[in-house]
């Protein structure tokens, strides 16, 4: 029996249309727009000025605190503007605009990094490299990675979990990376195990990626400390809490962190970035992005420089098809709809999904028929119909008592509701109010 988390979950249409498409490079963008708030936490501080010349990989905004991250320029060129640009959140955010120097060869070299297995750095150096290289969670959470690795001396972390689940429909960025960079990912895992003194690591992969499971099993044959766990296909298994439960049967307590049950979770993309940072001193300036949608001509996976406007990516797959009604930064379950394709790719962009008319429109919300589907599918054991009701009525005290804050916003409830009730919309709204009230209280 394949492992999975026990409570709730759904199985939306997988639509992994790009899973056999090797990761390609797109032409270097003429202009990049690098936002300074690409991660969870404090935005970075800009350390360049207009007209500055920058070299590829140079720090252009430095970490603004502990929970923050450095940002490096993905191209060599000239800073043309410090501007406010709408990012995928829909809000204007501060951005460093850099024009690519067309004459600078470093921009057009295709990087070649042969596999480097030997780990020469000590623990301190490794952590320093990860901090300096601006690495954040690439699965979408964008939590600065060094924060997760900053273990107190009394920590009891005994297991590293590598998240290769990619449970979002459509997305295949992690899948491709696992296939194409399996050996590197294993070295990345070994680097972290070395740095954290952990002797056990498990790579969790859903069983719809049998090829990746096979490749990684092969790559781990010499290191018995690393296991590959094939998981049943079920959304939202990529959520940290559900993944830990699925693999180790440990349950992160309410309001707690994976560390509380002795686990650290990192996405495969992050692990690859860590490998690059430690073995080749490469900062995080590019990532894999799946550009996909049922009506796209050449949907595929790409190595994309951070700050590339999404329109460059769309052009690469044959342009927006007729009847496009929605463009999503991320997957269909948790991604954010964006207004236009000027929005740049950031560290958290795992995919661009183009949705057509038929799929995009929401149906009218009807009365709750108390069918209980939302309750069955909620992986956190919540009662979404009740939470929506309380949020609608403004009963925030009760909303808080009903554990609204533990909602992971996976959207399973809204997905399944036969009455098309916008459950998560109301729950999100309720959460934001409860959060405000809680901060006010303290």
């Amino acid at each position: 029996m394949l492992k999975t988390f026990p409570k709730g979950g759904i199985h939306p249409e997988e639509n992994k249309i790009t899973s056999s498409k090797a990761i390609k490079r797109i032409p270097v963008p003429k202009i990049v727009y690098v936002p300074i708030a690409q991660h969870i936490g404090i935005p970075s501080e800009i350390i360049v000025e207009k007209k500055d010349k920058v070299e590829i990989g140079q720090v252009i905004a430095k970490s603004g605190g502990f929970v923050s991250s450095n940002i490096h320029t993905p191209v060599a060129g000239t800073v043309t503007k410090l501007d406010m640009i709408v990012d995928s959140s829909g809000y204007k955010k501060q951005c460093i605009v850099i024009r690519t120097d067309q004459k600078n060869e470093s921009n057009f070299e295709v990087p070649d990094f042969p596999l480097k297995k030997e780990i020469t750095m000590d623990q301190k150096d490794i952590l320093q490299h990860i901090t300096d290289s601006g690495i954040v969670g690439l699965g979408g959470a964008t939590f600065p990675s060094h924060v997760k690795l900053d273990l107190k001396n009394d920590n009891k972390v005994d297991c590293l979990i590598i998240n290769g689940v990619e449970c979002e429909p459509y997305l295949t960025a992690d899948h491709r990376l696992m296939l194409e960079k399996a050996e590197e990912i294993i070295v990345g895992i070994q680097i972290l195990m070395h740095a954290l003194h952990i002797n056990k690591a498990v790579i969790g992969i859903e069983n719809n990626k049998k090829d990746a499971i096979a490749v990684l099993k092969e790559a781990t044959r010499d290191d018995k400390r690393i296991k590959v766990a094939a998981l049943k296909v079920k959304y939202p298994q990529g959520s940290e809490k559900q993944l830990i439960k699925a693999i180790l049967k440990r349950e992160v307590p309410k309001g707690g962190l994976p560390m509380d049950v002795g686990v650290i979770v990192h996405n495969v993309g992050t692990i690859y970035a860590i490998y690059q940072a430690v073995q080749y001193d490469q900062p995080l300036i590019e990532r894999v992005v799946t550009v996909t949608g049922k009506n796209l001509e050449n949907a595929s996976n790409f190595w994309v420089k951070i700050g590339t406007p999404i329109k460059d990516l769309v052009a690469e797959v044959g342009g927006l098809p007729e009847g496009t009604r929605k463009i999503v930064n991320g997957g269909p379950m948790m991604g954010k709809a964006i207004k236009n394709t000027d929005v740049p790719v950031t560290k958290g962009t795992s995919g661009i999904l183009v949705i057509s008319e038929e799929e995009a429109s929401r149906q009218e919300s009807k009365n709750c028929i108390r069918c209980g589907q939302c309750v069955f599918v909620c992986p956190m054991g919540l009662e979404p119909h009740l939470l929506m009701n309380l949020s609608e009525k403004g009963l925030y005290e009760r909303l808080s008592d009903e554990d609204v804050m533990t909602c992971i916003e996976c959207g399973s409830c809204s997905y399944v509701c036969p009455s098309h009730r916008p459950l998560l919309d109301y729950i999100r709204f309720g959460k934001s109010i409860v959060k405000k009230l809680n901060t006010a209280k303290n």
């Binding site: 939306p12 005994d158 709809a337 028929i369 209980g372 399944v416 036969p418 998560l424 999100r428």
Partner: protein, 334 residues
């Protein structure tokens, strides 16, 4: 770009499941039982069901349009289902006006006065049925004999199986002598007996019930728990004294137990939301049903049992919540 780009919050996809599809699945599930009913009772079953359906829909329309002045919801399929389920719980020779009264009570009182679909506490069809039972006890408990047909059904009586047993036992008969007058288990299974329109064939109802479970409209928890609990309870009495108590098989195959367990108790709106809650709810229904059947005045009793337990659903939902992830768990480190 010609068409505006839609900005809305995630999720951006939806399962193809809609309330309407759920209602249609229920409808399909009722087809086998309906066919058996027509086979056994002929045209009268057709008339009964049509009258109930039409009056439920018409009442919903009229009340929503002229009295409540709200949105008309007759196309969502729920009034249609209420009509069918009400009909299934009535004798086929009931006077037409009574069917209409029952529909009015079901739709007007049990459903719309509570706020419409989703807000009603009691199963509308059962409220309609029980109202008629209380107001017109004679008509509601005289069942037609099934029409003679080329299969020459012989085990036909004007009373329900459980009715005969109850009466017999009251007059001091034993099960051995009574059993000569009641249909065999096989006949009960196939529906070649007497009773309300839709409760005839346990087999046809089971078929539809399994369909509902396969289509994930209902889960097994309520029907299976009701049937198992009833079997255990009636089984104990039967083992203690088989001359005074009917066997579990008779109890389960007759008196609308299957209809109640699979179609009435599982009504989404009026049953609990969690699986734990469903089991509690179902055990309650089974116990009340058996108590009414063995010790009460009515031979059947599952309708009353369901309505009584309907009243407890808000309470059950309050106390039997799903287990919250990460609640009261000590971090266990191996």
């Amino acid at each position: 770009m010609a068409d505006p780009i839609i900005i809305s919050a995630s999720p951006h996809v939806h399962s193809a499941r809609t309330s309407k599809k759920v209602m249609y699945d229920v409808l399909y599930a009722l087809i086998p039982a309906f066919l058996v009913s027509i086979y056994v009772f002929g045209i009268s079953a057709l008339i009964l069901t049509s009258v109930a359906i039409i009056s439920c829909i018409v009442f919903e329309y009229l009340i929503q349009k002229y009295l409540l002045k709200t949105e008309i919801t007759i196309t969502d399929g729920s009034a249609l289902i209420t009509g069918i389920l009400l009909a299934f719980n009535l004798p086929t020779n009931l006077p037409i006006y009574m069917i209409i009264v029952g529909s009015l009570i079901a739709i007007g009182v049990a459903k719309l006065s509570f706020g419409g679909l989703g807000y009603n506490i009691f199963n509308p069809a059962l409220v309609g049925r029980v109202f008629l039972l209380v107001c017109f006890p004679v008509q509601m408990t005289s069942w037609p004999t099934a029409i003679e047909n080329n299969l020459s059904i012989d085990a036909i009586t004007g009373e329900t199986t459980l009715g005969i047993i109850k009466e017999g036992l009251m007059y001091g008969e034993t099960m051995t002598t009574i059993s000569e007058r009641i249909p065999s288990s096989m006949e009960l299974l196939l529906g070649l007996t007497s009773g309300s329109a839709g409760e005839m064939s346990a087999l046809a109802l089971l078929l539809g019930g399994i369909f509902l479970i396969v289509r994930k409209v209902i889960t097994w928890h309520i029907p299976v728990t009701i049937i198992v609990t009833m079997a255990i309870m009636t089984g104990i009495f039967w083992l203690v004294n088989p001359e005074l108590y009917a066997s579990p098989i008779i109890h389960i195959l007759s008196g609308g137990a299957i209809l109640g367990a699979f179609y009435m108790a599982t009504d989404l709106v009026t049953s609990p939301m969690t699986k734990k809650g469903m089991v509690i709810f179902a055990v309650g229904i089974a116990i009340i049903t058996v108590v009414i059947r063995l010790f009460g005045a009515y031979p059947e009793g599952i309708s009353f049992a369901i309505l009584i337990m309907n009243a407890f659903v808000p309470l059950i939902d309050k106390y039997f919540k799903p287990r919250r992830f990460g609640n009261k768990i000590k971090s266990k480190i191996i």
